[in-house]
């Protein structure tokens, strides 16, 4: 039980009930355009509505999408779990439109909806700025528009977009993030410009979801190799719904080959393991680890730091049952770090 420990939930997903909800938050041209085009929804297939993953059974309403109202969030998560602060990471598909301008219009509308319907109505809430990463220029405009509101504690993008996240055309976004003291969160999901596996499209939802962890590894390799950590020394990256039990094996592999290939990427002039431990954080759920306490302890030993993992419920996604979202066997010290200290250390705006 985490009640009473003032947990900070770093990955909470309010859902836009439907496109109509956003129309009042859109400029007249875009509101009219969406009606004229007959668009009625902008959800991706990352979280199909009827998939068990998309909502825990007891959090699923009789009709419609889960987690669409503040009252649901309060009664299902904030109050029963005693959440001190929850960071809202809306997964509405602002990265899906091929039109950069439409993506930006959606991002503005969702961000403003989050402010009015959520942040303004419960002081426990914080949020990520959604950006139309299709266009770095428009993404930065959205960051600049909202960074003054300290309730936005980070910037969020999906793990799979049009290009690798380490590449330099994304760097102006990172520059803006660093300047405002906002971490870059990378959440599971895709704009589906590319297949969800490196070898093409799978047939089933399970392939898509499991493959996300591999995509996170590719993006982490990209950020390391392209030198993003070197270029932006004060920027933190937060991987959300990425899983983290793959991290030690990934780092063993990356470091091993880095030793022989440093010549390609001399800007990575110290151990990539140390870079990741200092600059990257991972949300707790989904915990893909073993079940025994001894094995779970080993996983954290292999991570080599107790500062990497941030508490998350992934509400309303179905990642755990009952009222204890923590894996068993964690020391009191580690629990406090995951629930409180690590999130506060990661998010300058929560200190």
């Amino acid at each position: 039980m985490i009640r009473g420990l003032n947990p900070i939930d770093c990955d909470v997903h309010p859902n836009v009930p439907g496109l109509k909800t956003l129309l009042p938050f859109m400029e007249p041209y875009w509101a009219d355009t969406l009606v004229q085009r007959g668009m009625h929804e902008l959800d991706s297939i990352s979280y199909p509505n009827n998939s068990p993953l998309t909502a825990r059974a007891d959090w699923r309403p009789e009709t419609g999408k889960p987690a669409t109202t503040l009252e649901q969030l309060q009664s299902q998560l904030l109050d029963p779990f005693g959440i001190d602060i929850a960071i809202l990471n809306c997964l509405y598909g602002v990265q899906l439109p091929f039109s950069e301008d439409m993506g930006a219009a959606y991002a503005r509308a969702v961000n403003d909806w989050i402010v009015k319907e959520w942040l303004d109505r419960d002081p426990r809430l914080r949020a990520s700025i959604l950006i139309p990463i299709q266009s770095p220029e428009l993404a930065i405009a959205e960051i600049e528009r909202l960074a003054g509101d300290k309730r936005f504690v980070q910037i969020m993008t999906l793990v799979a977009g049009e290009t690798m996240l380490g590449r330099r055309h994304h760097w102006p976004i990172y520059e803006a993030a660093e300047r405002h003291g906002l971490p870059i969160a990378i959440h599971a999901g895709s704009s589906y410009r590319n297949p969800s596996t490196a070898n093409g499209w799978g047939s089933y939802h399970i392939e898509d979801y499991v493959s996300q962890a591999i995509t996170f590894q590719s993006q982490l390799a990209s950020l390391l190799s392209e030198g993003a950590f070197r270029k932006f020394p004060d920027l933190t990256f937060v991987m959300l719904e990425s899983g983290f039990t793959w991290v030690p094996a990934f780092l063993w592999r990356f470091k091993k080959y880095w030793r022989g290939l440093t010549m390609e990427i001399p800007w990575v002039d110290r151990s990539p393991v140390d870079i990741v431990r200092e600059r990257v954080r991972f949300s707790l759920t989904p915990f893909d680890g073993p079940q025994s306490e001894a094995d779970i302890t080993k996983i954290f030993e292999h991570l080599g730091s107790d500062e990497l993992v941030l508490f998350s419920t992934d509400y309303p996604h179905w990642q755990f049952d009952g009222n204890d979202p923590l894996p068993p066997g964690l020391s009191d010290d580690l629990v406090r770090k995951i629930l409180v200290d690590n999130p506060r250390q990661t998010y300058a705006r929560l200190r």
Partner: protein
Amino acid sequence: MTRHVVATIDEIKPGGRKVVTIDDREIVIFNLNGDYVGILNRCPHQGGKLCDGVVTALITSNEPGQINYARPGEIIRCPWHGWFFDLRSGQSWGEPDRIKTRNYNVAVTGGNELVEGPYQAETIEVTTDQQYLVVET
């Protein structure tokens, strides 16, 4: 400290290398444009013979995309997994304090000095009119 006479200076041309054996240990001597250096012929990773590696330069960077290319010929890559070692210090690239191969001082000494010893020269015949490479172990 023991001094071992291992070669005449003419045996290793600039850019060249030679493997010598001292007390059952293989040491590779390099001629870096007139400076002679020695490293253990064994990669600390899995024991690859460094004498078979290719040399490159010290490649560093101040920021992504920017390259400094210095000291060409002074960094060797293990032929097995490509790890990099500084021939002058034995230190690896990236983790210089944690991973290194042993390095040896190689002095150029006149035969006339060597005749007076003490030194070991099991395989080399020393004459007073030659210059020799002397490894300290």
